[in-house]
């Protein structure tokens, strides 16, 4: 069936062409950022209030507090310049830790607080056994904070 074949050919070319066009023109890359930084969130106009966004940063050491009676926590998220308070309902991921990177999804409220319902723990690209870490070994790495501020 030549007609069918032609349709199939067009579909497969569209598949590749569409995929490439998405890379080149679509909402990929510079047009849409995967997450905002706390500085950008602080500078949000009111349009962004109550809009679902993702924010990435470092969890500030010693800022995490849990509730005794329910699942949830509050902590501060920073990019080195600005810090925003985050509240979260639920159980955080296993790798969520103070002093480590995290991407939180939720809403920036008018009261300048980020209400999140999803935390994604961001881990770095260095891998080593716990003994080496305790011995204070440092591996060459790209600073996560630098990649945020640039």
């Amino acid at each position: 069936m030549p007609g069918k074949k032609k349709v199939g050919m067009i579909i497969s070319i569209l598949l590749v062409g569409g995929a490439l066009a998405y890379l080149a023109l679509g909402n990929f890359g510079e047009n849409v950022v995967y997450f905002f930084t706390p500085s950008e969130v602080k500078a949000f106009s009111t349009d962004y209030y109550q809009k679902k966004v993702r924010v990435g940063g470092m969890v500030v050491e010693g800022s995490m507090e849990t509730y005794p009676d329910r699942l949830g926590l509050t902590f501060q998220l920073t990019d080195g310049e600005a810090t925003i308070p985050v509240t979260f309902e639920g159980i955080p991921p296993d790798l969520f830790k103070e002093g480590q990177g995290a991407v939180v999804e939720g809403y920036w409220t008018g009261e300048h607080r980020f209400e999140s319902n999803l935390i994604m723990a961001k881990h770095s690209e260095d891998y080593m056994p716990i003994e080496l870490k305790r011995a204070g070994v440092e591996l060459p790495r790209k600073d996560f904070m630098k990649s945020l501020v640039e």
Partner: protein, 242 residues
């Protein structure tokens, strides 16, 4: 009628690649699952890296081979090169899909999400779509010469995704972590690097072996079909048998 000399060479040497792959993967699996320490941050689940990263590397390696093969085909128009391209595209698609699958399994216990549309994951999914499109296109073209030519052009155009995949973690903010092995240095300590190296080398050898087997398969298929008169392409016959 004789078997092409390249295929005869492949037949003779493929066993070394298969054996080498089995050896490296065996050592790599032992070291990766039992003989290596857990990571300070991720704990035991870091062991998924030893399967995920080699699969992803091999998928990209396979696409590079496909691009070179496609250029070579357009230059020389040798049908056996086209057999190799068709074989490597299928393998690249399988490795890409498995890299995505193991990545999802790694993402759940570490990031706490199976999937997210960050730049690395999106560009890798695009690679899978390109490969599926390539393989689909080939099934829909009747003339083998046209099939090979269209496929080669499509594969070369699709190559633009490879630098995007590689640099996605540097150019954009992503949830996916940057490369551990790069110009900056290696940020994996030796205890965890050795199993990764074994698995990476083993996976590359396994890929080479699978490529040899699949190229042979497609060649023999073409040979048989051509001789039985089901595929009346004098072009492919005269080239392959000369």
């Amino acid at each position: 009628m004789t078997i092409h000399r390249v295929i005869r060479k492949v037949q003779r040497f493929q066993g070394w690649f298969g054996g080498g792959a089995a050896l490296c993967l065996g050592v790599g699996l032992y070291l990766g699952l039992i003989g290596s320490p857990p990571d300070y941050y991720q704990g035991e689940v870091v062991r998924i890296m030893y399967i995920h990263v080699p699969l992803a590397h091999t998928a990209l390696l396979a696409y590079i081979v496909l691009t070179i093969g496609s250029l070579w085909y357009l230059w020389k128009r040798d049908p056996i090169v086209d057999n190799m391209c068709q074989a490597v595209a299928a393998l690249s698609a399988v490795f890409t899909a498995l890299a995505l699958g193991t990545g999802m399994i790694w993402g759940k216990p570490t990031w706490d999400t199976w999937w997210t549309w960050d730049a690395r994951l999106t560009s890798f999914t695009v690679l899978l779509l390109i490969l599926i499109g390539y393989l689909m296109l080939r099934t829909f073209v009747d003339d083998p010469e046209k099939e090979a030519r269209y496929g080669a052009i499509l594969a070369i155009v699709g190559f633009v995704d490879l630098p995007i995949i590689h640099f996605s973690v540097e150019w954009w903010r992503t949830l996916h972590q940057p490369q551990s092995i790069s110009m900056r240095g290696v940020s994996i300590s030796s205890g965890l690097l050795v199993p990764l190296m074994f698995m990476s080398i083993g996976m590359s050898l396994l890929f080479s072996y699978m490529l040899m087997v699949r190229t042979q398969l497609l060649y023999l298929d073409r040979l048989l079909h051509a001789k039985q008169g089901r595929l009346l392409s004098q072009f492919h016959l005269s080239k392959s048998d000369s």
